[in-house]
């Protein structure tokens, strides 16, 4: 049992006053002091080991009132409530409303500037531990993200495989090998090859020769305007789907993209649909013997300008 607030404190000889607070030792979880109100004044009395009996309404001490150790007036700031301290399983020892029970705040802890300093210094050290990792980790993570272009010529096929007459495009499938990190992958890609008629050439290369530059701005290839062969990237500039050569009821034989129904003419010009720009042309060279070689570039989808991304 332990006293309720407003219980009377009685010594062997007389009543001393009213209990207004209970002070608990956080380590032993026993009542170490009581705050007693008498004549409107609150004083702190050490009662450790002196409690003879204890009910809700009165606390009887073993000693006489003259033997009581009054450790001075009660200073609330010397104490904290049990909400502010970790005392596990206190409820097993005491059963009071939280505001009534206090725990002493050690001398050292009372120095606010000391607490503040250690608090701040701890945070600073923590930040300084995290700091050295920032730069290496960022570089570690972005390592593969901005790799320069490899402008390798790959074989697309032979021109003799083109069964279409001039002016009609032919799809060319080829095997692409890609090494990313330590993994090498093979997959099939396709592009469209066109033997353009002179009128088509004017539409495909309206501004003359088409220059291809690398990321440093150096010229790496020029597609001549007077070309025998034009290669369109097999990816639709809208969102990258593989488009087809189909009959369209309004436009006749055209390129149609099945994903969002962009329609292009044989020269790559946008006739209908959400395509932001005409079909992308790739650098092409024709070797003696008819072998077609291209640089398999990739361009950013969905934008008006042609921005190379691979």
């Amino acid at each position: 049992m332990q006293p309720k607030i407003t219980a009377k404190l009685l010594c062997t000889d007389r009543e001393v006053g009213e209990v207004s607070r209970v002070i608990v030792d956080p380590l032993s979880k026993t009542i170490s002091h009581l705050v007693v109100k008498s004549d409107g004044q609150e004083s702190l009395i050490a009662v450790d080991g002196l409690i003879a009996s204890c009910t809700e309404r009165e606390v009887r001490l073993q000693c006489a009132s003259s033997a009581l150790v009054k450790t001075g007036p009660f200073r609330r700031n010397d104490f904290v409530t049990i909400d502010e301290v970790e005392i596990p399983h206190l409820e097993r020892h005491l059963d009071v409303d939280p505001g009534e029970v206090l725990v002493p705040l050690p001398e050292l802890e009372k120095d606010l500037s000391r607490r503040q300093f250690f608090s701040r210094f701890t945070n600073v050290i923590g930040a300084m531990l995290a700091l050295p990792l920032i730069y290496p980790v960022i570089r570690y993570l972005i390592y593969p993200m901005y790799k320069p272009f490899t402008n390798a010529w790959i074989n697309l096929g032979n021109l003799s495989a083109d069964r279409q007459p001039p002016g009609v495009p032919q799809i060319y499938k080829f095997a692409k090998t890609v090494t990313e990190g330590v993994i090498t992958r093979h997959y099939e890609k396709s592009h469209w090859v066109l033997k353009p008629t002179p009128e088509q050439l004017n539409q495909i290369y309206p501004n003359g020769n088409l220059n291809f530059k690398d990321d440093k701005g150096d010229l790496i290839w020029v597609n001549q305007k007077a070309a025998d062969v034009v290669v369109f990237s097999g990816k639709c500039p809208h969102l990258g789907c593989a488009y087809r050569w189909r009959h369209h009821k309004r436009f006749g034989m055209v390129f149609v993209c099945p994903c969002h129904l962009s329609v292009y003419s044989a020269t790559g010009k946008v006739l209908d649909g959400p395509a932001p720009r005409p079909l992308d042309k790739l650098p092409v060279k024709v070797l003696p013997g008819g072998e077609l070689e291209i640089i398999d570039m990739e361009f950013e989808a969905g934008v008006k300008e042609q921005i190379r991304i691979a």
Partner: protein, 133 residues
């Protein structure tokens, strides 16, 4: 440890020293290291593959100049031999004369291809109209 009189100053100085050390670390830390594996030959100095920038081995203009130079040298050689051979013709020289004569024949063909303004590199020999007959 006792808290310092001027906490702000202490902490700022501390942070400053740490940041300096960290910056030195970041600058001096090598980005890559080479593994030396027992049983393997030490790896060659492989820099990341340079993006392929195709520069022409020879421009068409240079080609014309080269051929003209070769031609003039050959003509000079022919004249020399003619001077030497007029006292007495030798079969070797006849062959040399013949060689001298065929080189002019090549010129129109070369000129034809070089006039086309071929895309670099010029040695691709693409199937263009008007190539050497």
């Amino acid at each position: 440890m006792r808290p310092p009189k001027d906490q702000g100053l202490f902490l700022t100085v501390f942070v400053g020293i740490c940041m300096t050390v960290v910056l030195v670390l970041w600058i001096s830390l090598p980005v890559h290291i080479k593994l030396v594996i027992e049983g393997e030959e030490p790896p060659d100095e492989e820099s990341s593959p340079e993006p392929l920038t195709l520069k022409p081995a020879v421009t068409p203009e240079e080609r014309i100049v080269q051929m003209e130079q070769a031609l003039s040298l050959a003509q000079a050689a022919v004249k020399e031999l003619e001077k030497q051979s007029t006292p007495g013709e030798k079969p070797g020289e006849a062959g040399a004369n013949q060689k001298g004569r065929t080189t002019p024949g090549e010129k129109p063909g070369e000129g034809g291809t070089s006039q086309k303004g071929q895309s670099k590199p010029s040695e691709t020999g693409s199937t263009k109209k008007g190539s050497s007959p």
